[in-house]
Amino acid sequence: MSTKVVIKQSTYFDSVSLMSLSTKANQIEGVEQAVIAMGTDMNKEVLKNVGLLTPELEAAKTSDLMIVVKAATVELCESALIAIEELFKKKGGSKSATEIKYSTIDSAVASIPEANLAVISVNGAFAAREARKALENDLHVMLFSDNVSIEEEIALKQFAHEKGLLMMGPDCGTAIIGNVALCFGNAVRKGSIGIVGASGTGSQEVSVRIHDFGGGITQLIGTGGRDLSEQVGGIMMLDGIKALEEDEATKVIVLISKPPAPSVQEKVLAQVKNSKKPVVVYFIGGDEAAVVQAGGHFAKTSKEAAIKAVVLAGANEDELNKRALNWPLIEEVRAKLTPEQKYVRGLFCGGTLCDEAMYLAMEKYEDVYSNIQKKADYKLKNIHESKAHTYLDMGDDDFTNGKPHPMIDPSSRIARFLEEAKDPSVGVILMDFILGFGSHEDPVGVMLPAIIEAKDQAAKEGRHLEILGYVLGTDLDTPNFDEQVKKLMDAGVTIASSSTNAGLLAREFVAKGE
């Protein structure tokens, strides 16, 4: 039997806390007996009665804290003393009813060791600093904020890469990690398809289509729109592919982006070539041959990407309802439009949805204008005035510029819609309505009065105004998908079943002489 004594001079604890600490100390494994008490005469008497009083303890003053441990061996005594020290420390962090507010990532992580991810959406001027703090604290980062410089983005992504952490963003609106949608995302089934996406709404669209086709998602890693630029070099997409390669639950990988910089596409496709898992590549308006050469599965549209992914994941292609284009409907609409009603006007909240519809229009028409056109001749000089076929990404900086995104504040889209509805050369107005986490609580409802007003006005003028709506969401999303669709249909809006079909229907409705 061995006994160890520690005397902490001039250290005050009240007797009630010390009794409680003594009780806990006696429960430490290997402890025969433990006493933690102030050096009062009464306490010394107690020690004497249990045979633990030593000369050292005898000399302790009233103001001294006495710790006495008796155990089978010296080693056990020493380990017990370490455990007792821990008891003194283990005071904070009790889960009380009042929520403790932390002001910095450092202090939050110090108190919440299980924290593993930071979701950052502060003003861009401060965002990189917070992201760096998060990475320093070993947190993965979802950086929603935009207006972060490309130099900061590169530095953050390199730092994250070195630390083996995710650095999703800046300007990353969508991710699904461990079945939890972050920022803007949809409620989709858990499954075996992993996505790495540089386009926010494009990734949302593919995840929703996969769900619609009966498939499910393992992870959706957002990279931010600039990841595949020459400067950033696809750091996050390459790390994302690698992580999905190593993820046992992921059977199929889908990559989504606007066309990458050529050197970056080369790097990404080189990694696709080495992948042991099938990879579906949807680079909007991308080059099929290069993808096929790398052994990837090329998808021209978001819908095709989803179909290929679910089939590769094991779905029976013959049993899929691929939601083929409704040609009788197209003929019907064509018949209603006058020869002057030649043009499509697309007013989008989702940038990738705009992009996809625009690319589909460009396959058929030359005069397709947009604020996000790559072809300089067709980039709108005045974004407030439409020309021929016009597809507007109203969530782009051109339109927001300090104002809230149209998904949150729909007023600018409503105003533009009413303008377009008056134009006699317009055959169809195409709009997206995005549901799910982070979305407006009733995106259709806020647009509805304007839709009814425009329809009435057109009817008075004796022309048919075709309004085509696409609701991006799943049956699990909030607000309710069916209710949103019904509201549109009741107002006479035609519904597209996917982003791809929306783009195809719009271009076909206004086709003349086919």
Binding site: T98, V122, R129, A181
Partner: protein, 474 residues
């Protein structure tokens, strides 16, 4: 398994910084999320963010971390002992017959607020340097008086902090590090010199304190030897004091310790009775004692190269000044003194209030007072708050401090130690200012205390300090 794959397979616990509903959406999906109470660092000022960035450079940050660890250790390990009472002229460094010490950062007579002017003129009359207040004003303005901050003489002074040669001082010695701190005696009551009152009753009380109370305490301590103030402070916190605005327990403990020795002194029974009645007349008796205790501990942590720990917060009724350990000596960083918000005595209105005044914020600098509000639920009404708010103040202060003092703990917070070692970097980073519990003096000379409440330092003092420290350290 890589960290990313661990994330895939683990349970999400997100720290949400920015848009709050992102946290709500995560929680709706049965994952955990904690929302930060985030503000732009440095109020969004680029020069301050730049300074924070410079201080975060690894080599610099390591230097600061080492220095701050040392500074906080010295605060925590300091064992201030009450070792005696004596007249200022006998013990205070630099004291002369024509020196008047005052609270807060340096200030000249013409700029002093009403309460301080009232106290200064009262002290001049008390010292026999003028026959009445009117003449005292001329003396004060004449240049014959040396004005100097208490803090620059190892002293602290409550409210106006006016300290003159013949006043009796606590003598508090740091058993661990050897330095000594001083403060004068509580005058009890409301209509008192330190609050700016200076009529005959005030001077008469000062005379009695010089002739009876002071000498009796001096003689008692000669017999007692020393009293462990930190130990007593820790007990007082467990008994419901925060030791700035509530001193009921501390005063009982202190007089309990002094009484046997007071009885042994050679004063008459009547004089002893007067002293006990005087002590019993206000719970504030031990208020200055804790100030000297805190000053003693914080002085031991001042002047540590590269440290960003605040060692002084003090106000003169016009300006609020702080000192930082890494800026040795008497380098003050100042900003305008703020209003004190809280309940007022009957008959007074907020517009009667003088601005924040006194060296008593030394208690918050140490980690008690407003920082230990959770220890004193009895006085949350006095400071205009609820018990929950009191707890909130004490936990929030951890966001701007470096450590918890294991020697001074708060029962209501599961015996966590008080938040110790205010770091100017954290103040600028979080935008959280130290909270201060304090009394309110009337804005005019001659009236006295009219209420009590809470206040904060001006952020600009911390901003100036951060910029200066950045230039010095990095």
């Amino acid at each position: 398994m890589s960290k990313i794959n661990e994330l895939f397979n683990g349970k999400i616990h997100a720290i949400n910084v920015g848009i709050e509903f992102f946290k709500d959406d995560i929680i709706k999906q049965n994952a955990n999320a904690s929302h930060l109470d985030w503000k732009p660092p440095g109020g969004g000022k680029p020069e301050l963010i730049n300074a924070l960035d410079r201080l975060e450079n690894t080599a610099v940050a390591d230097k600061i971390a080492g220095a701050n660890k040392l500074a906080v250790e010295r605060i925590i390990n300091s064992q201030p002992m009450l070792v005696g009472f004596d007249q200022a002229i006998n013990v205070v460094p630099g004291m002369t017959k024509t020196t008047i010490l005052h609270a807060g950062p340096p200030i000249t007579w013409d700029k002093m607020c009403g309460a301080m002017k009232g106290a200064v003129t009262g002290a001049i009359v008390f010292e026999g340097l003028a026959k009445d207040i009117e003449e005292a004003e001329q003396v004060a303005a004449s240049g014959a008086i040396t004005f100097s901050p208490c803090h620059e003489h190892n002293c602290v002074g409550s409210m106006a902090g006016v300290t003159s040669a013949s006043m009796f001082m606590h003598v508090v010695k740091n058993k661990t590090y050897g330095n000594v701190a001083y403060t004068n005696l509580s005058e009890q009551m409301a209509k008192i010199l330190r609050m700016g009152a200076n009529d005959e009753s005030v001077i008469a009380r000062l005379n009695w304190m010089r002739d009876v109370l002071g000498p009796m305490l001096r003689d008692a301590m000669k017999i007692a030897g020393e009293i462990d103030l930190r130990l007593m402070l820790a007990q007082a916190l467990h008994m419901g004091d925060e030791c700035h605005n509530r001193n009921n327990a501390g005063t009982s403990l202190l007089i309990q310790a002094l009484t046997p020795y007071i009885l042994e002194t050679d004063f008459t029974k009547e004089q002893k009775r007067e002293v006990f009645d005087f002590v019993a007349s206000s719970d504030y008796f031990s208020g200055p004692t804790w100030m000297a205790m805190c000053k003693c501990a914080l002085d031991a942590a001042h002047g540590i190269e590269n440290s960003t720990i605040v060692t002084t917060m003090a106000r003169n009724g016009v300006e609020f000044g702080i000192r930082v350990s890494g800026m040795a000596g008497n380098t003050w960083f100042t900003g305008p003194a703020q209003k004190v918000v809280g309940p007022m005595f009957a008959g007074y209105k907020p517009e009667d209030s003088g601005l924040d005044i006194g060296d008593s914020a030394i208690t918050e600098t140490y980690g008690i007072g407003g920082f230990a509000m959770a220890a004193a639920p009895a006085i949350v009404a006095l400071v205009g708050g609820t018990v929950e708010e009191a707890i909130g103040f004490s936990t929030t202060m951890k966001e701007i401090t470096t450590a918890e003092n294991p020697n001074v703990t708060i029962p209501l917070l599961d015996f966590q130690g008080v938040a110790t070692g205010i770091d100017i970097r954290q103040v600028i980073q979080t935008g959280i200012l130290p909270i201060i519990n304090t009394a309110i003096a009337h804005k005019d000379a001659g009236i006295g205390m009219i209420g009590a409440g809470i206040t904060y330092p001006p952020m600009v003092a911390f901003e100036k300090a951060l910029l200066a420290v950045t230039e010095t350290i990095s």
